[in-house]
């Protein structure tokens, strides 16, 4: 699936998007998998309360299932308007 990062999450991880081959069942599982990869991921995902997630471009919870999902995005709380 495609994993996208925005704002300071993008800056901390150091890339805007990447293709991830994963068998993670939920968003939380994917977070754990990415965090285990490298320190920059662990740093970005250190405080999940400070993060929001979208699954296939819809806001979701960290326990959202990933079966059949094409795109997951991580970002800080939004500041539109």
């Amino acid at each position: 699936m495609d994993v996208l990062y925005f704002a300071w999450v993008r800056e901390r991880i150091g890339l805007p998007r990447e293709r991830v081959d994963t068998s993670a069942a939920t968003v939380a599982d994917l977070v754990a998998e990415l965090s285990a990869r490298e320190e920059r991921y662990a740093a970005a995902f250190a405080d999940l309360a400070a993060l929001r997630v979208a699954v296939d471009q819809e806001l979701a919870d960290f326990d959202a299932p990933l079966a059949g999902v094409r795109e997951v995005a991580f970002f800080p709380p939004m500041t539109g308007g």
Binding site: L4, F6, A7, W8, R10, A54, Q57, E58, L59, A73, F75, P76, P77, M78, T79, G80, G81
Partner: protein, 145 residues
């Protein structure tokens, strides 16, 4: 209903004049415009967004406004990219038969745009760059709807 996401500046006067033009059933038109506030040392603001999701989220928010209030028309324009203090970031316009629906739906749109549309603001100032943090008050504002 019209949703526009663009980097370029928009012509507020032309947009406001054209909105709901010729609709004599709509007695109330409300517009709101967000402007880059020139706080101390701010040189420019950079707005990042999530292409694809941004348009979808704005459409969902506008559709919800149309569901809740009897609106004749809704316009949302939101920019992304670099902007200087004083530049217009975004506008919403609502049109209804009476003013309550137009005012309330415009406030609803703004509250949801703040916290539920995937935009992120970064401030570039003389003393450094920083991401604008979401305010708890903005999140709390959603509970009034």
């Amino acid at each position: 209903m019209r949703i526009v996401v663009q980097a370029d500046p928009f012509d507020f006067g032309a947009e406001a004049a054209a909105f709901a033009e010729g609709r004599d059933d709509l007695g109330a038109v409300v517009t709101f415009t967000g402007v880059v506030r020139g706080d101390a040392a701010l040189e420019r603001m950079e707005i990042e967004h999530y292409p694809g999701m941004t348009e979808k989220a704005l459409e969902q928010i506008a559709a919800e406004a149309v569901r809740r209030w009897d609106l004749g028309d809704v316009l949302v324009i939101h920019r992304y990219g670099p902007m200087r203090p004083g530049e217009r970031i975004m506008m919403v316009a609502t049109a209804a038969a009476h003013r309550e629906a137009a005012f309330d739906s415009a406030a609803f749109l703004m509250d949801y745009l703040k916290s539920r549309a995937p935009f992120w603001k970064k401030e570039h100032a003389a003393d450094g760059d920083s991401w604008v943090a979401a305010r708890a008050a903005d999140e709390a504002a959603l509970t009034r709807w």
